[in-house]
Symmetry: C2
Subunit: 374 residues, 2 copies
């Protein structure tokens, strides 16, 4: 499997080198330097109703060195390219923040009035991260494949055996702990999966409780948490399990627009990173709960109900504009009910009915009656 990691990096390296070579030959041939980069803005993100995925459209921008408005970003692109190429060649695994610092330096130049000027290669990590994204769409390789690291939040537990490097990891033998998902899940070989479905849990503490109760064992499932808004690694892991092993994916969050948005990210990706969705999103992910109607169907006591804040209302309105919500009658009903009532509830509120209510009643009932939303 080391081979496959190496292959990913080797492929990414080749693609990056090709970009570099193209620029170099422009220099050698005395041509004007330019790079063609697919546009990542909202205007070029299209909702593909059939595959139920956000996809990058066909628009490309020409980033030219001799364009005053583009020269800086052109320089940044070539700089980042060289940093990543060097890291791969030297077997380094920098984080996105490492890359920011490694490339950050001050350029001095004399302007047209003879005055000495200074400019930073980039001022913030937002700038350097954005360039990494450009290189992802330009080469078609995820940064994970380039061996670029980042914070990871995901945990998994259940009957799945994974190979990472030369290690074989049995996620059903983690005791009260769990396997912390590595930055690049594509480096994992999924040796065997013995489960009927995946339960993706928003909250880490609830994941810990279900793990402690060995819910995954009793219910033949895998438990995964991304601890709130999931990182790319967790999303990629869920996607691979769905795609390669055909496991249905159920998402469990609080009954509030933030929870619904987390579901949305697992399912369709984030709009601003539409280009990732084809590899990170799980377009058939189902929302198991808590739904807005659950608040009333399960007669959640009034004093467990939290009044929605303005940002909840705003987010719900945004969600109603997302095609994957708008195309679902049930989601439209849920979101409209939320906007009408402006009330939300946390998953722990079910503990008012006893600590076993979630695992012995709510989840089995939802799963057996097919009461999820798609």
């Amino acid at each position: 499997m080391r081979n496959q990691i190496d292959r990913h990096r080797a492929d990414a390296l080749k693609a990056l080198e090709e970009v570099g070579n193209r620029v170099a030959s422009q220099v050698l041939n005395g041509e004007e330097l330019s790079l063609e980069i697919p546009v990542r803005t909202l205007a070029n993100v299209v909702w593909d109703s059939k595959s139920k995925l956000l996809k990058l459209g066909s628009k490309k921008l020409k980033r030219e060195f001799l364009d005053m408005g583009e020269a800086r970003r052109f320089m940044q692109t070539v700089l980042m390219l060289s940093l990543i190429v060097r890291a791969i060649r030297e077997g380094d695994y920098p984080t996105i923040r490492d890359l920011y610092y490694a490339g950050k330096h001050t350029l001095e130049y004399i302007d047209e009035f003879g005055k000495l000027r200074r400019e930073e290669t980039w001022d913030t990590q937002k700038e350097s991260d954005s360039i990494i994204q450009d290189l992802e769409v330009l080469t078609g390789h995820l940064r994970e494949h380039m061996g670029i690291l980042h914070d990871t939040k995901g945990k998994i537990v259940g009957r799945i055996v994974i190979r990472s490097g030369t290690d074989t990891i049995d996620c059903s033998r983690m005791g009260d702990g769990a396997y912390s998902i590595p930055p690049n899940p594509d480096s994992l070989e999924l040796l065997s999966v013995d489960a009927d479905y995946i339960l993706v849990i928003e909250k880490d503490a609830i994941f810990n409780r279900l793990n402690k109760e060995r819910f995954w064992e009793k219910n033949r499932c895998l438990l995964i948490t991304g601890k709130g808004q999931p990182d790319r690694s967790t999303r990629r892991m869920v996607r691979r399990l769905w795609e390669e092993h055909g496991l249905p994916v159920y998402v469990l969050t609080d009954a509030d627009p933030y929870g619904f948005y987390i579901y949305s990210v697992y399912r369709s990706g984030s709009i601003t990173l539409g280009y990732e969705s084809e590899r990170l999103a799980t377009p058939r992910a189902r929302f198991l709960g808590l739904t807005v109607t659950d608040i009333y169907d399960y007669k959640i006591p009034r004093n467990f109900i939290i009044k929605a804040k303005e940002r909840d209302v705003k987010r719900a309105q945004e969600l109603l504009n997302y095609p994957w919500f708008r195309e679902s009658k049930e989601w439209v009903r849920q979101l409209k009910l939320f906007l009408e009532k402006q009330e939300k509830v946390e998953i722990e509120a079910l503990s008012g009915y006893g600590f076993k209510f979630l695992t012995e009643k709510y989840l089995p009932e939802k799963l057996s009656t097919g009461a999820w939303i798609e």
Copy 2:
């Protein structure tokens, strides 16, 4: 080992039942109801210079049912006690948030003017969490021993073999991932530890990088991260490894007061939770870096240096008041230099010298020359 978990819970249960029985016998004997609870406020937290630990002093408060100012908290204490006792008896593992909801209800009563009034058992989780802490100091048992769960953030990797329940976990066989530390590290049996020291890393992404480089293998150490401000589980895990296996503990953070504070929490505990320190703190933990003087000794480029914010300055001043900083000449020097220069630097800034600088130069140099701060 299941036995030991059970023993922890059984011991905690016994202690909780004793408190309950004491109250019950007060009722039966027609005595005034009261509980004696060690005071947890700053006024009763003492710095023990010899053990280098924050400890709870001897002050106790009498919480009386027939005291208008205390009746509510008395009721809350007995309510929480009953919830936890029931959870242990029924084999449930609630989270602190579950307990908040399970106990939250509205009490109705007629006041002295004949008017119907309503009061919530508790309004916020802060209130119910505080009562759990009261029960911890009252019984001398950590909530982890009572089987109460919470969010966990800690990860560990390296040559350590752990038993959790019936599972044996080899943390040197986690591939690019790691073992996610469970909520109650006291339920773990540390079967074998083959390492010279523990490197505690503030940042998750840096942990991932060092893991990817197999730093722990090349340097015979264990890597642990608590992802910023560590949770109780991570702190308890570090403490156990230091106490039971005599491993030196080195902490690696950014060069800023927030990083120094994280070190302080590992070393001495947080002032507001002084009662935990005896079990959660590692009084001999050493600060490896980055120090304030590193900024200048390693000639960090000016454009990598970040201007301190007001809250950094405030925190540095606070740290100077903590006995464990004040008692250390070197820490006083570092903090005074920080207050003078008002500059900070992130660990990733070292990548300006190449991605291998941290692991192949900075860390080996610091460790071999003993250039840590205590």
